[in-house]
Amino acid sequence: MIDLTTTLPGLSLKNPIMPASGCFGFGKEYSDVFDLNQLGAIIIKAATKEGRYGNSTPRVAETSAGMLNAIGLQNPGVENIIDNELPFLAKYDVPIIANVAGSSVEEYVEVTKAFTRTTAIQAIELNISCPNVKEGGIQFGTDPGLAAEVTSQVKEASHVPVYVKLSPNVSNIGVMAKAVESAGADGLSMINTLTGMQINLSSRKPLLANKTGGLSGPAIKPVAIRMIYEVKQQVSIPIIGMGGVMTAEDVLEFLLAGASAIAVGTANFHNPLVCPEIIEALPSVLKQYGFDSVEDAIGKGHEHAYTGLSRA
């Protein structure tokens, strides 16, 4: 028997696979396609204080082995989510992680406080890296001081462990990771999307109405693996890894790099059954590569001393 369980602050997971924020809504739609009880956890779509409409359309574009999105944090607002979305998810035996977004430290804190009135969430994913909103979002994700500030305030306001979701659009991911660890983060979630653009040759304009969007999918997997590997050497809090996961083999690659659990985003659009299919395939893949359990594999790609990677 291969043991798929893994434990992270606030999260006792029957397997390490969870849909990534923004790629699974609040679960209802996918519950029409498969039984959500199979999942290790669910990260729900970003919540802001008030409801937001988001950006103009088109909001998505396809790229080579990836996609761009600029949804712009559309969501019904935190109160609405608590009242109208979480009760549905509470029926499942699956830990829920709430993705918290905002345009100011105050908004992040208010959203976090709002969540304290529900027991339906087991952790918060603090989204300081959303590249698709005009105010807020990414500057928290690229400035270590701001990132630490928002982390410590949200941590104080939260009744559940806080995972800080890092942006890959930075010169030095290790500095960001250490800043939020020092500020009290219980874990990290990485990576969010790389900022990208596609230009439509006929209209001669950026295809997305928002011009830029977040690049996700297999195209970015090497960047995700590198950043997780690099950060794993520099922090001691656990990492939820993501970025281009399509298969159980990809999951193992993230575990070896140092992730303790894995989120699957874009792949859900390609194949709505991808999460249950990965969960089913994972035991035999672990076995094939000589592992008895998920926890066995975590960080096992670090056999050699850290020689400083690209920046030594």
Binding site: E29, G54, T57, N69, P272
Partner: protein
């Protein structure tokens, strides 16, 4: 309930320039397919075409358990789709979205207005309307003669007016020009086509009751990712095209 199915291609034919008609055979789910709904197709192998392609259901044959789709080759995904051959299988989400609510509205006469690749869903709609004893007039527009398809199929159902942008076949101009020139009686109109056309149609037919089917770039195709929203007439209101649509009452949405 949306199903992920492997459907077998049982027929494939080029019916106009760059336009392919494909018939897919599957299991019982297609019994519930309604006119205006679509299928979401995984056209790629590997990671080349990561996103599925939405294609309308153009016809359903419940006895044979088949659905027909008609698509135009406009990019890498539809090109890849056009390379599949009879006997191969396609990974399809079916059926997606909400179709034309024909069981909910009563009428005697209907007008269907289609443009280009917006024509296909109207064919199954027209067939269903005819079965209910409703008189159907069709106005269908294409770029030019070589792009015209299904004129004879619509003519079997009712009167059919073809219009081409360049006048190389039928009327010259846009579908709205036909509406100016021909006097058509109808209780409801049903339209599908490019957004520009839908705007023109719904503006011209402001005083009429009608339903339109909208296109937008999609991520999930099932309502989870918020890629395909359209604003509604209520302040801050919106609908998801893939789940709440693609068919909407013309006045419900803001194009």
């Amino acid at each position: 309930m949306i199903n992920k199915e492997w459907m077998t291609i049982v027929a494939k034919e080029q019916i106009a320039k760059d336009t392919i008609e494909m018939t897919l055979s599957g299991s019982a789910v297609i019994d519930t397919a309604e006119p205006g709904q679509f299928v979401h197709i995984n056209v790629g192998t590997n990671n080349t075409n990561l996103l599925r392609r939405p294609i309308s259901i153009a016809d359903v044959n419940k006895k044979e358990q088949t659905i027909t789709i008609i698509f135009k080759i406009i990019g890498t995904g539809t090109d890849q789709l056009s390379k599949y051959t009879v006997g191969q299988e396609l990974d399809v989400l079916v059926p997606c979205g909400q179709g034309y609510p024909i069981s909910k509205v009563t009428m005697k006469k209907a007008l269907v207005i289609g443009g280009g690749i917006g024509v296909p869903p109207l064919y199954y709609l027209a067939k269903q309307l005819q079965q209910k004893g409703i008189e159907v007039t069709a106005v269908i527009g294409f770029q030019s003669e070589e792009h015209v398809f299904y004129e004879s199929k619509f003519s079997e159902i009712g009167s059919c007016h073809v219009v081409t942008d360049d006048g190389s076949y039928g009327f010259k101009g846009y579908v709205t020009d036909v509406l100016d020139q021909v006097d058509i009686a109808y209780d409801y109109y049903f339209s599908c086509g490019p957004t520009g056309m839908l705007k023109a149609v719904s503006k011209k037919l402001e005083d009429k009751k009608g339903y339109i089917s909208i296109e937008q770039r999609m991520g999930c195709g099932i309502g989870a990712c918020y890629a395909c929203v359209v604003p509604t007439s209520e302040p801050n209101g919106f609908k998801k095209i893939c789940k709440d649509g693609p068919v909407f009452e013309a006045k419900e949405v803001v194009l």
